[in-house]
C-alpha cells in the first residue's frame, strides 16, 4: 500500500509541517498527536501506515524544505531538534518537489503537472497518489459555461485567455493522472461540474473544502450545543487575527470574503437561523505563525433572559492542519482503493465547508467518519 502524497503548495507552512511530522513519525521521533485516525474508533488496517506515505509536490517558490523547516522551528511551529535530526530525510523529499510549471494555456500547465505526478508515481512504485491542495487561498470565482461539462472545459483550457484557478488546474491534472484529490483550502479546486465528470469518468474520489482547524472547529461544537439546548443565539461575531502567510493572502478582500462565508455557514445550517454578526479575518504580521480568534455569542434563555459567552482560541494553524493532511491522505487513499468515486461527504468532519454533507455538528460528523472508516477494507 505504498501511497504518494502530492502536495500543491509543497513548500508552504502546512505542507512542510506535514512532511516533517510524517518523517518524524516514521523515525519514531514523535507521537501522532492531533491525528484523528489514531482515535480508537478510527484506527484501521485499511489505511496506509505513516511509513507507507511518500511525499512530493509542486510549489511556486524554490526554497529548500530544510530551510523552510528551520524557519518554522524558529517560529515555534516545529521543534528544532526534529529538523536537525531529519535533515537528510527532508532533503530527499526535496528531489520530488517540482517548480510550478509555466504555460501559455491551462491545458499546457495541466499536462505538465500531470506528467510530474506520473513520474512521481513511477519513480517510487506507488500503488496510488493523493493530491492535496494546501496552497494559498484563491478568490472565489464566477461561474462560467465552460465549467459545466468536461468537453466545454477542455475546449476552453486550450485557449490562451481562459482563466482557470490554479486549484482547479491541479484537480484536473490529478484526475487526469489517476490521482484522488483533496482540497484543504476554500479555493475552487474540484468543485466544477466538468471536474466532477472527469473524476467520475476516471473512477476517482475527491474531498474538501477548507480544513476546519480552529475557530470553526469550536463553532462546530458550540453551535449544536445552543441548538440542542434550544437557546436563542441573538448574535455571533468573530474575529480572526493571523500573522502567517495565509493571513497576508486572506487580507485580500476577495479571498477574505470566500473564507468568511465558509466560516459562518456552520451557524445557519446548525442553528436553523442566522444570528446577527460576522466573522472577520485580519492580517497582523506581529502574530507570526499563530492565530488568535475571538468569538462573542449573545443568547436569550427562558423568559428572554439575556446571556453571553465568549471564547479565545490561540492556535498554530500549521500544527493543527498538518496531522489532518496525513489523516486525509490515508483516508482518501483507502477510499480510492475501496472503489469510491466522486465526493466523499463522509469526510465532512475535517472541513468547514464539506462537499455534499449537511450536518455541521462535529459529533455527528465524527460518527459518520467512524462508520465510513469501519466500512473500508
Amino acid at each position: 500500500m505504498r501511497t504518494g502524497v502530492w502536495l500543491v503548495g509543497a513548500r508552504g507552512s502546512v505542507a512542510v509541517t506535514s512532511i516533517v511530522g510524517a518523517v518524524a513519525l516514521r523515525a519514531g521521533l514523535t507521537e501522532p498527536v492531533g491525528c484523528v485516525t489514531e482515535h480508537p474508533r478510527l484506527r484501521s488496517d485499511a489505511l496506509p501506515g505513516y511509513g507507507d506515505l511518500v511525499f512530493g509536490g509542486h510549489d511556486v517558490v524554490n526554497t529548500a524544505l530544510v530551510k523552510r523547516a528551520e524557519a518554522l522551528a524558529a517560529a515555534g511551529v516545529v521543534p528544532a531538534r526534529l529538523v536537525a535530526a531529519l535533515h537528510s530525510e527532508l532533503s530527499a523529499v526535496d528531489d520530488d518537489v517540482r517548480q510550478m510549471p509555466p504555460g501559455d494555456t491551462a491545458e499546457a500547465v495541466a499536462a505538465r503537472l500531470c506528467a510530474d505526478m506520473d513520474t512521481f508515481r513511477q519513480k517510487h512504485a506507488l500503488d496510488r497518489v493523493v493530491v492535496v491542495n494546501v496552497a494559498s487561498t484563491e478568490p472565489a470565482i464566477v461561474a462560467q459555461s465552460a465549467h459545466k461539462s468536461l468537453t466545454a472545459l477542455q475546449r476552453a483550457m486550450a485557449l490562451p485567455d481562459f482563466a482557470l484557478p490554479a486549484s482547479s488546474i491541479a484537480a484536473y491534472a490529478a484526475f487526469s493522472a489517476g490521482c484522488a484529490y483533496v482540497d484543504f483550502t476554500p479555493s475552487t479546486g474540484a468543485r466544477l461540474p466538468a471536474l466532477h465528470e472527469l473524476a467520475t469518468a476516471n473512477r476517482l474520489p475527491y474531498a474538501g473544502h477548507d480544513g476546519k482547524t480552529g475557530e470553526t472547529l469550536v463553532k462546530s461544537v458550540l453551535a449544536p450545543m445552543f441548538a440542542m439546548r434550544r437557546l436563542q443565539a441573538t448574535s455571533w461575531s468573530g474575529i480572526n487575527l493571523l500573522g502567517g502567510g495565509d493571513g497576508a493572502t486572506l487580507a485580500e478582500p476577495a479571498a477574505n470574503a470566500a473564507k468568511s462565508a465558509s466560516k459562518q455557514r456552520v451557524l445557519g445550517e446548525t442553528l436553523g437561523y442566522v444570528p446577527d454578526g460576522n466573522t472577520r479575518i485580519e492580517y497582523v504580521p506581529g502574530l507570526g505563525d499563530f492565530k488568535t480568534a475571538w468569538d462573542l455569542v449573545t443568547f436569550n434563555g427562558f423568559l428572554g433572559t439575556a446571556m453571553r459567552m465568549e471564547f479565545t482560541w490561540h492556535g498554530c494553524d500549521s500544527a493543527l492542519a498538518a496531522p489532518l493532511v496525513l489523516d486525509l491522505a490515508r483516508l482518501t487513499a483507502a477510499a480510492h482503493r475501496n472503489g469510491r468515486v466522486g465526493p466523499l461527504p463522509e469526510l465532512a468532519f475535517f472541513f468547514k465547508d464539506p462537499l455534499g454533507a449537511t450536518d455541521h455538528g462535529l459529533a455527528a460528523q465524527f460518527d459518520t467518519l467512524a462508520e465510513f472508516t469501519a466500512s473500508l477494507t
Copy 2:
C-alpha cells in the same frame, strides 16, 4: 395526563422561575426558549403538555411566591411584566407550597412530606406526581451501613439521632407516596441502595444528578472536541463566580468540594485522562443572580506545539435551569407512565453527574435522549 410537579425548595430561584415560566407558557405569554423537549427530534405527544403541569412543593421559608418573583424581576431574571400579569396564578400555587415540616426523626419528617404529596395529588386529581429537588446543595455524606438496605434504613430512620440528608428524606417520601423523583442538585437524594430498593419495590423511576446549566455544559461539548481531534489537553482550569443564594451555600467548603468534583468528572471520562487544574467556585455577592465562569485549556498539538483556548460564560442559572426542570418533569412523568423503574440513564443529557451513564459527550447524550423520547408512548 394531569401531572403534578412537587418542588423541594419551592420558593428558591430555580423553582420560582420554573413556576413563572410554566404559568406564562400556559397563558401564551412567552415562548418555550431553552426547553429541550421542544427540539424537533424530541417533541412527543407522549409527554404531558405545559398546561397539564400543576405545581406545589415544600420550602423552609414562607415568603409568598409573588414576592419572590418580584425579587427575581428586580434582579433581571424574569420580566417584571410577566410577574405583574400572573399575580393571581402565582398566588394560587402558593396554596400548594407547604412549610418544610419539623420532626423528631427522619421517619416522622418523611411521613409528613409523604402526606403532603398525597394530599396534593388528590386535591388536583393528578395522574402522577414528579418530585424535583431544587433545594440548596448539601455537603457530601459518608456511607453508612444503614444506607445499604431498605430494612436497615427504615430501622435507622426511626431513631432520633440518625442523620439522613434532607434530599434523601425527600426521595424516601416521594417513593413512599408513589412519585417519581428527580434530583437537579448534587445532593445525595435517591443515590442510596436502600432508596433504590424502595423505588424498585414501588415501580418508580428516578433521575439525577446536578443539572448541567453552564460551564459544565460547555465542557461537555469542548472535551469531546479535544478527544475527537486527538489534541492533548495539558491543563484545564476553571473558576465559577456566583452571586446568588446557591453561591453562598457553595462557599461552604464541603458543598464546594461536592460540586467541584461533579464538575471535573466530565473531563476524565471524556478525555480518558485527567489534565492538570481544578474547578473553583467562589461566592461574589456583587454578581447577583448571574454567574460568570472562566475556563482555560492549554493543549498540545502535532509535534508538541503548545496552544490554548479560554472561554467565559455569563449566564443566569435560574433562567438556564428552569426550562430543564420542566423538561425533566415531563420526561420523567412519561417514563413513569411507560412503566420505567429505577434510574433513567437516558436523561444524562441534563446532568453533570448522570446516574448510570458513562458517555459525557453532549451530542451522544442527545442522541440517547432522542431515542428514549421516541420510545415513549
Copy 3:
C-alpha cells in the same frame, strides 16, 4: 450661574440619558456615579450645580423625550422607575427641543439655529449656554480653502451648493450666538481655522473631540503601562461590536474610518511607535444599546520572551457618555465665565482625540484636569 446645555442630537440616546440623569440628580433620585467632577480632586464651587443646568437642543427627529426615555428603559440603559417618576420634568424639556431647521444655504440654517439658541437663553434667563454635539458621527471631510478664514467661510456659506458638515454649522451657530461649544463626537465641529477665528473673535472657548467612553479609555491606561514598563507591544488589535444607533452610522465605511483612526491615535502617541493591528467597528443589531470591545495585545519582554494580554469591555455607551456630557457642560461653562478663549486642551481627559493636547496617558490628563479645575474661580 444658570447654565444652558444645548444638545445637538437632543433626542439621541446619549442626550436623553444625560437629561434623565440631570433631572434625576436635581430631584435627588440618583447619585452622580460616573461624574468625573465629583472626584475629590475636582469638586469645585466654580462649576455650576446640576440644579443650575437647563436643557434644550435640536434634533432631526420629533419623538417625545418621554417616549425615547421609555425606549432606553426597556433596553436597560436607564431605570424604568426614574422615567416614570420624571414624566413631567422630561415633558418640560421637550418644549425646548427644536426640529433641526431646513434651509437653502448653510448660512440660512446657521441663522435659524443661532436664533433658537438665543431664544432659549432669553426664555430661561441663562447666564451662559454650552452647545454640546452628541449627534451621529459624520464622515471625515476634505479640507477646502473656504475653511481657512472666517471671511472665506461666510462667503461660501451663502452659496446653495456649499456643503458644510452639520456639526460645523452647529459650531458656527453656537459661536455666533455667544455660546461655548463641545464636540463629543469625532465629527469636524469647530476644527476649522475659520471657526477658530470666530470663537476667538467672540471670546468663546471650545472643546473636543470624541468622548472617550470605552475601549479607548482602557487603552489610555494600558498603553502607558506598557510604555512605563518598557515592554514592546508587537501587535495591538481590537474589535468593537455595537448594536445601537451609533453602530448603524459607524458601519458606513467613511465614518468607521474616522472613528478607527481616532481610536488608534492613543497608541502611537503613547508608545512612541505603532504596533501592528487595527481597531475595527462592527454593527451587530442583536447587541442593542450595549457595546462589547475586545482587544489583544501581544508584547515582548526581556530577552524577547513573547507574552500577551487581552481584555473585553462590555459597556453601555450612553450610560458612560451621559455623566461626561454633564461634566463637560459644567467645566466649559466655568471656563467661559473665567474668560477662557479658544480650545481647552486641559479637557483632554474626556476625549479620544483631544484638541491641542499631546499626552494621551489618562493619569497625566487627570492631573492636568485637576489643576485646571482648581484654577477656576
Copy 4:
C-alpha cells in the same frame, strides 16, 4: 561604581534570568527590553551601568547556573542561543554562588551569610553590594516581641529554637555586611522594627515588597481608571494560574494567603472601598514557567447601569521580573551612594506592597520614581 548584586535564591528562575540578561546586555547580545531605567525620563548617569554589575548569591540547591539556564531555554523563558553563547560567563558567576549555610542558630547562619557577602565584595573590589531576595515566598509570620528591637532580636537569634524567616536572616546579614537590601518577594525580609534599627544604624537603604510583574501591574492602572472616572466597581475577582516553582510554593495555604492579601491591597487603597471578590492563586503544573491571570470587574455607571470588563494576562514571570531586578539593583545602589537610609518609598512603582508608600496608581508611582531618579547624583 562597581556594584555587586547578591541574589538570595541565586539559582531560581528569576535570578538566573536576571544573570543571563545582564551578561547578555554586557556582551551586546540583547536589548534592555522591560528595563524601566531605560525610560527616557529615568535614564541617569547616577546609576551603575549593566557592565558594572557583578553577580553572586546564595541558594539551597547546587545545580550549575548553565544547567538552570538551559532548563529555562527549554521552557521558552530565555533564548537557547544566548545560553549557548554565554556558557563561560555563566560558569564564572557560579564561582560566586554559595550553598545556603546550615547553622544551629539564626545568629550562626547570619554570620556565615555575612561573611560570604564580605568575601564577595573584597574579591571583586566592589564599591557596594545590593542584596536582592528572589527566593521562594515564605508564609506570613506572627509578630513577636523579639522583633521589636535590635537588642531583643540579637538575643533571640543566639537561641537554637528561635525561628527567624530566611528572608529576615538574609536582611540581617546584608545590613551587618553593609549592604543595601531589596525584597522582591512578599516574605518578611527587612520588615521588622529590629531590622529597620540595624539598617538605620549602618546607614543603609532598603526596598520592597513583592515585585509587581503581572496581574497586579494591570490592576494598578485599571483601578485608578475606575477611580478617576468615578465608576463603582461592585466586584473584582481574579485567579492566577501558575505552573512554575513559585506556583508549587504558593499553593501552600499560608503563602497563598500572604500573596493574595498583597494582591488585593491595591484595590482598597486606590478605589477607597473594597469591592466584592478575591484573588486566587492556583498551582497548575501543566502551565510550565508561564502564568495566566484572569480578572473580572463588574461595575455600575450612571443611573446604576451594570457593566463589566475582564482581562487575561499571559506572562512569563521570570522574564517580567528579571529586568526589574536589574533596575532595583541599579537604583538601590545609587540611593546607597547618595546617602539614603531606611525604606525607599520612591521605588513603590516596582512593588505590589510598597514600603511606606500609599499611592498605588502606577502613573503617580512613575512620576515619583522619575523625580527620585533625577535627584540622584
